[in-house]
């Protein structure tokens, strides 16, 4: 992600990079959203096989929880990219890459939806993992 020059003009080649106020704020926002995505991963891990009889009653909601987590993870990554773009932090090349990665991630989310709708546990698990991976790729555009 390229950093725009500050209002004092273009940066000198080889000079130390000083972040503008806007860049610092945007980076904080993007990192917070990255944290939200990490939380999605934790929640997915938290909705695995129940370990007690009392928890078995919740087993029927596992697919809904996993499906919801995939949607929320996609939304978090989407929001991070949208925020970076609105802040003017994406170069034309980064925008083009973001468009492609967003399409890929959304298509993967669509496959998870289809597997959920079909009620196929094994294909859902596979599609769920693929969707989370594609969402992570999208988020990588604005991380670090």
């Amino acid at each position: 992600m390229a950093r725009p020059p500050n209002s004092q003009g273009a940066r000198e080649p080889g000079s130390r990079v000083h972040l503008t106020f806007k860049e610092i704020i945007m980076k904080k926002i993007i990192l917070a959203l990255a944290g939200a995505l990490a939380l999605a991963g934790c929640n997915l891990a938290a909705v695995q096989i129940p370990t007690s009889p009392a928890a078995v009653a919740d087993r029927t909601t596992l697919d809904e929880r996993a499906g919801l987590s995939v949607e929320l993870a996609y939304q978090a990554a989407n929001l991070a990219i949208r925020t970076a773009n609105r802040a003017g932090l994406l170069t034309p090349a980064a925008k083009a890459k973001a468009r492609t990665l967003d399409d890929t991630a959304f298509a993967a989310v669509g496959k998870a939806r289809a597997a959920y709708d079909a009620g196929n546990a094994s294909s859902f698990k596979e599609a769920d993992a693929a969707a989370r991976s594609a969402v992570a790729d999208l988020l990588s555009l604005v991380k670090g």
Partner: protein, 65 residues
């Protein structure tokens, strides 16, 4: 650090928009770990699907798609 009023206002605007959207996502995560019934989760999942559709269209549009 270099900043001016326009930059500050733009940052506040973006933070406001982002905070509202992030809060909605956060509340969704709370539901994932909460004690909602299957029907409630199904309804929330359906809402999330619709929102993801809108978010995807919005981002593609803003990126020049």
């Amino acid at each position: 650090m270099n900043f001016n009023l326009d930059t500050i206002l733009k940052a506040i605007e973006l933070v406001g928009e982002t905070s509202a959207a992030a809060k909605q996502i956060f509340e969704g995560f709370i539901a994932v770990t909460g004690g909602e019934t299957q029907e409630e989760l199904k309804a929330r999942y359906a809402e999330a699907r619709a929102k993801s559709d809108v978010d995807h269209a919005t981002l593609q549009d803003e990126l020049g798609g």
